[in-house]
Amino acid sequence: MHPPVDNSKNLFLDAVSLDTAHGLYGLMAEFVEPHDLLHAAEAAHAKGYRRMDGYSPMPIEGLSEALGFKKSKLPLLVLIGGIIGGIGGYAFQYWVNVIDYPLNIGGRPDHSWPAFIPVTFELTILCASLTAVLGMLAMNGLPMPYHPVFNLPEFSLASQDRFFLCIEARDPLFKLDETQSFMETLGAVKVSSVQW
C-alpha cells in the first residue's frame, strides 16, 4: 500500500514516480515573461522562503540574487587552477632541463627561462579552462539524469519559452495550502505540485 500522497493534481506521476513515499517535492509556478519570474522570486524571498529555485530557458540577470544566491566560488577555483597549471608547467620544464636531463644546446643555459614561457602559458590556460568547465559542472551537480522537476509535464517548456519558480517542500515555511495560495498571487499562469 502506498501512504496517502496528494497525487490528484498530477496523474502522469502515478506511472513514473520512482518512490511516492517521498511525497511532495514542491510547488511550481509557471510564468510567461522573465520579469514576472524575477518579481515572483523577489516576493517569495521577501516572504521568507529560501529553499527555492527558478527555472528559465536563458540566464536572467539578477534572478539568482533575487533567490538569495550570494556569490559563486567558481572564479576563485579557476584562479587556483590557473596558478597550479602555470607553476606546475614551469617547474616541470625546469626539472626536466636542469635536474633530470640537462642538455647543452649551443652553450645556452640549462635554465633558459624565456623558452619555457610558451608551454607555461598554454598549461596555465588549459588548467584554468578545465577547472572552469569541470568546476561549473561539479558545483551544479551535473550530469544528473533524474530530477523531480522533470516529473511535471509542462516543465519541458522551461528549456523553450516558459519561466518557472519552484518552492520546495523542505523549506521550513512550506505549508501546502498557504504556499499554494501565496504563489497564486504572484501572477503565475498556473501553480502545480511536483512529486518525487
Binding site: 579557476v78 610558451p118 608551454v119
Partner: protein, 479 residues
C-alpha cells in the same frame, strides 16, 4: 540631400542594419532553429553536400593509407624543401580556426550582440578546422605510430621532449587550443541540447540529446555558475587564440632561414589567421543562411560587420607583406635581399603575385558598403581570400626553403598528386563534419538568441519610454 543625411536615412530605414528580423519571440527563435534539426527532415541539398564531402574524405583516407604504407616519399618533399604541403595546410587550417574563438570569446567580452547568431557554427568550424590541421604534423612525422613521443611522459629511454623547441611549443599550443575550443563549444551547447531533448518527439533523439544535455534543467543557480564559467572561458580563450598563431609564427621566426627570421611573423600570422577565419565564416554563412532561410538571424548587418573585420585584418596582412620587403632591404643581408627578389621574380613568382592580388588588391573592394551587403560578391571575395591565404603559406614555406644560403643546395619543390589528394581530402573531412553538425545540432545558439530577443525588447521599451517622455516634454513647452 547631403551624403550624411542619406547615410543616416539608409541606416534607420534599411532593415539591413538589424541583427534580428522583426517580430521574433522566445518561441519563434526556438522553433525556427530547432526545426532545422528536428522537423524539417533531410533535404536533397544536404545529401548532395554531405556525399561530396564524404567522397572526398574517403579519398583522404585512401591517400593516408598509401602514405602509411609507402612513407612520406610519395609527397613532393625532399631536401631542401622538407616542409611542403603538410606545413602549408597545417598553418592554413589552424588560421581558419581562429575566427571561431575570436567571434565567441573576444566579441563576447566586447559585448557585441551581433556575434550571437554566428558564434555557434563559427566555433564548430574552428573545431573541424583544428581537427584537419592536427592531422598534418602527425602524418608529416613519417613514423606516425611514434606520435606520443611528442608528449612528456616517463619512458624507458629516459628522455624528455626538447622544451626549447618551437615545435614542442606547437604541440602544447594546438592541443590546448583544440581542447579549450571543444569545451567552449560544448558548454555553449548544453542548454540547447536540453531544448532539443524537450522538443524531440523521437525516442532516440530524446535519449541522445538527453544524455548530452547531462540533465540540464535551467536552474537559476546553475545559470549563474554557467554564465560565470562561460565568461571566464571567454577570458581565457582570448589570450589563447592570440598565442596559438603566435607560436605557429615562432615555428618559422625562431629559425635562421632567410624570410622566416623576422620579428613581425607572430603578429602578422595572427592577423592573417583572423582574416582567413572570417573569410571562411563568410564562405559558410552565406550559403547556409540561403539554404535554411536564416536571413532573419544572419542578417546583412552580420555580413557587413564580418566583411569589415576582413578588411581591417586584410590591411594588417598587407602591412606585413610590405614589412617583409622592407626588412629584406633594411637587413643589408645578401640572403634576405635575395629572398625578396626571388619571391617576386623567381620560379614561384606567379604564386607570390597571385597572393598579392588575392590578399591585398581584392579586399579593397570591401571599402564599398554595397559590396559588403551583396552576399554573392562577398562570397566570391571570401573564397578569393581563402585561396590567397593558402598561397601566402605556400610562398612563405616554399620560397624560403628552396633557395637559402648555399646555391649548391638549391632545389625546386613540386607537390605530387598525393599532396593534392590529402589536401582536398581534408576539405572533405571538414565538409563531412560540418554537414553532420548542421543536421544534428543547432547551428545557432538558441538560448543566446532568446537573450537577444529579451535584450532588444527591453531596448525598444526604453526607446518608447524616452520617445513618450520627449513628446510630453515638447507638449509641455507648447502650452
Amino acid at each position: 540631400m547631403s551624403q550624411h543625411d542619406k547615410d543616416t536615412e539608409e541606416r534607420s530605414n534599411g532593415p539591413s542594419q538589424d541583427i534580428l528580423g522583426a517580430g521574433h519571440t522566445f518561441s519563434t527563435v526556438t522553433d525556427k532553429i530547432s526545426s532545422i534539426v528536428l522537423t524539417r527532415g533531410t533535404s536533397r541539398g544536404w545529401w548532395v553536400g554531405f556525399l561530396i564531402g564524404f567522397a572526398l574524405m574517403m579519398m583522404m583516407i585512401y591517400s593516408i593509407m598509401v602514405l602509411l604504407v609507402k612513407g612520406v616519399g610519395i609527397w613532393g618533399i625532399n631536401i631542401p624543401v622538407a616542409w611542403g604541403f603538410a606545413i602549408i595546410n597545417f598553418v592554413w587550417w589552424i588560421g581558419i580556426g581562429h575566427a571561431g574563438t575570436l567571434i565567441s570569446a573576444v566579441l563576447l567580452l566586447l559585448n557585441q550582440p551581433w556575434r550571437t547568431s554566428i558564434n555557434r557554427f563559427a566555433e564548430a568550424m574552428t573545431l573541424f578546422a583544428v581537427a584537419c590541421a592536427g592531422l598534418y604534423p602527425l602524418l608529416h612525422l613519417g613514423r606516425i605510430y611514434l606520435f606520443y613521443w611528442l608528449t612528456p611522459y616517463p619512458n624507458t629511454m629516459g628522455m624528455w621532449p626538447q622544451f626549447r623547441s618551437a615545435l614542442v611549443w606547437d604541440v602544447f599550443a594546438v592541443s590546448t587550443y583544440s581542447l579549450v575550443s571543444l569545451m567552449f563549444w560544448y558548454v555553449g551547447l548544453i542548454p540547447d541540447l536540453a531544448t532539443l531533448r524537450d522538443r524531440s518527439t523521437h525516442r532516440v533523439g530524446r535519449t541522445v540529446y538527453g544524455l548530452m544535455a547531462m540533465g540540464w534543467r535551467g536552474s537559476a543557480i546553475h545559470w549563474h555558475r554557467y554564465h560565470t564559467a562561460y565568461l571566464l572561458l571567454a577570458g581565457l580563450a582570448t589570450p589563447l587564440v592570440v598565442s596559438v598563431h603566435t607560436i605557429v609564427g615562432f615555428d618559422f621566426a625562431t629559425s635562421v632561414i632567410p624570410g622566416w627570421h623576422v620579428t613581425i611573423f607572430p603578429p602578422y600570422f595572427v592577423a592573417g589567421a583572423i582574416y582567413s577565419g572570417f573569410a571562411m565564416v563568410l564562405t559558410l554563412a552565406i550559403p547556409l543562411r540561403a539554404a535554411y532561410g536564416l536571413q532573419d538571424f544572419i542578417t546583412d548587418r552580420h555580413l557587413d560587420n564580418m566583411a569589415k573585420v576582413m578588411l581591417a585584418t586584410g590591411l594588417m596582412v598587407a602591412y606585413g607583406y610590405a614589412m617583409e620587403v622592407f626588412f629584406g632591404w633594411y637587413s643589408a643581408s645578401t640572403y634576405e635581399e635575395y629572398l625578396v627578389r626571388n619571391r617576386a621574380f623567381g620560379p614561384y613568382a606567379p604564386a607570390y603575385w597571385s597572393l598579392i592580388l588575392c590578399n591585398v588588391i581584392v579586399p579593397q573592394f570591401l571599402w564599398s558598403r554595397r559590396i559588403r551587403t551583396t552576399p554573392v560578391l562577398l562570397f566570391i571575395i571570401a573564397i578569393i581570400a581563402n585561396i590567397g591565404m593558402w598561397l601566402e603559406r605556400f610562398v612563405i614555406v616554399v620560397t624560403s626553403l628552396h633557395r637559402d644560403f648555399l646555391p649548391s643546395s638549391w632545389g625546386m619543390y613540386y607537390p605530387t598528386r598525393w599532396d593534392w589528394m590529402l589536401y582536398i581530402g581534408t576539405i572533405g573531412l571538414f565538409l563531412t563534419l560540418l554537414f553532420l553538425f548542421i543536421r544534428f545540432l543547432p547551428v545557432i545558439s538558441i538560448f543566446e538568441m532568446r537573450e537577444l530577443v529579451e535584450q532588444l525588447d527591453e531596448q525598444a521599451d526604453q526607446e518608447r519610454l524616452a520617445a513618450a517622455g520627449a513628446a510630453s516634454a515638447a507638449d509641455g513647452s507648447k502650452h
